[in-house]
Symmetry: C2
Subunit: 353 residues, 2 copies
Amino acid sequence: MKMIDDIAKRTGTWLSGTGPMNDIVISSRIRLARNLAGFPFLTKSDTGQRNEIYRLLYDRVMHTDLGCRILFVDIEEAPELDRQVLVERHLISRQHAEGEGSRGVAVSDKETLALMVNEEDHLRIQVLGSGFRLEQLWERIDKLDDILQQQLDFAFHEQYGFLTACPTNVGTGIRVSVMLHLPALKLAGELEKVSRAAKNMRLAVRGLHGEGTEATGDFYQISNQTTLGKSEKDIIAEFCSIVIPKIVDYERMARQALLKDRPTALDDKIWRAYGTLENARTLSTEETLYLLSHLRMGIHLGRLETIPLQTINDLFIKAQPAHLQKIRGMRLDGEERSVFRADYIRQRLAESN
Amino acid sequence: MKMIDDIAKRTGTWLSGTGPMNDIVISSRIRLARNLAGFPFLTKSDTGQRNEIYRLLYDRVMHTDLGCRILFVDIEEAPELDRQVLVERHLISRQHAEGEGSRGVAVSDKETLALMVNEEDHLRIQVLGSGFRLEQLWERIDKLDDILQQQLDFAFHEQYGFLTACPTNVGTGIRVSVMLHLPALKLAGELEKVSRAAKNMRLAVRGLHGEGTEATGDFYQISNQTTLGKSEKDIIAEFCSIVIPKIVDYERMARQALLKDRPTALDDKIWRAYGTLENARTLSTEETLYLLSHLRMGIHLGRLETIPLQTINDLFIKAQPAHLQKIRGMRLDGEERSVFRADYIRQRLAESN
């Protein structure tokens, strides 16, 4: 699809690596789970009901002014590679890409808003932003939710709040998550501590692609696990004033400690990563993310001044399998991808130097 | 010692990486073990006898025309770092460096001849050359042996031949050894076969620094194990017409197979090695030898054309611990050496590019 080809070639606003605390916070995200009153949850819907929900939501979403230009992708009809591009950009979930039946996603042209239709819930509203900006995102999604509620009748229970397909989302239906880059805590072997503290606060710590994925490239997603019994504002306030500033402080201290106590080991790590990316002839996604991760830290610590941060942020996205195939303009098997990935990165680094 | 400082700064003739089959054969070496008649072996000598042997041999060696300029190093008096430099250049053995009592070595100015006094035997005559040139070395050492026999009375038994401190050397007292660079056989996992075949021919396969050392940087020393019951010429003929050409053929085939079947994997290995050497901030001796080993293969296969082979050959020697300290002009502990090694290599590669 031409539209997805274009998306795959740009960095995307929320991937730009800018915004508050961008040395450590890659991006912020809030999503709300909503279901239509008068329709069964998707697990209980037949094909006819599912199609009806899809048509209704498509219609209302596309004919409501959400304050930005919206592109709608029919996920059921979309080629696998296009779906994979959307997953790699965090605009849809893996389950949504791999699911069955009528389903889709509405994406704003800046990719800071995505509305998944017929994922686990009838509608999932998601806003994304670069850096640490949960309060701003909350304002936006709260407004969007209000606008949509004028067009749609969401299933709501006086006592429980918004009703959702999975009980963990009942109540506010909110999930707040922040993607962090924690290479120094990883090097210092102190991630376990952070992870334990987060779990004690009933927060989930996950990898780059959310639930069930490993932390690749030292990226960690921190998100709330419960949505019942706390207001949206309380959940966000906790993230903004306690959780994230604390982890960011830990990571900054770990980076300063590396700089002070082990500058050679730090530079060695950064420059070896650079040397490998600049010279390798085949690179896996995972190795690439780790190497880029070290460069990213190097740039933020002022140890690597020859490459623009923007190039690194862009490569984080472009080095992923579906993006690479879009750039190359053809399907590539695993081995071909690794070779093209190495070629592409070598070329980009040479250009930026 | 000024003399050793000078030695440490040059590459040395036999280390030049030239000569026949130099894509695979680093160097050839022949040594003869000799003892003086009328003196006990060193294991049975007291200090007085040991000193007497030392003085006698020093005197004769220094006053005999061996056809080249000779430098004599009193190993007992030499600082540890100087002894270590001589070990790293294969001019003396580790035992000789670490031993006790009066002992020394006479080295020709081109480092292609070394006479160890009071190592395991009273005298060990050693000739070295770059590439595969055993026949030429045999001519030279045979002549030297004749010249020395006119000056010295060597212990010789009608039936057994030359008598030596260790029974494995009795007879001809000859050890023929060839240093091979076998990275492709290593990558192809076929070294075990070569090693087994060599053992069946009663040859020893050892690492870079001879007996009891591991094969670092894909370097292997092949040498004869027995010296009794075969003439010197037979031993050398076997090396020249069977053993070495066969292993060289194997390695060349393995390299061609890599080029044909796995060119990307090959280039990946070579270029990653280059990227690491060009960027690392700390490098151990062992890692350095492996990385240089890959560059050496890359140059010989025409995959890496920016660096002169001479630089790589020189770095093989200079990257060693004692050489580095000589270049730096001061003692360095292990960590300091690794940092200086990385700095030095980075600078050399930048200069050669």
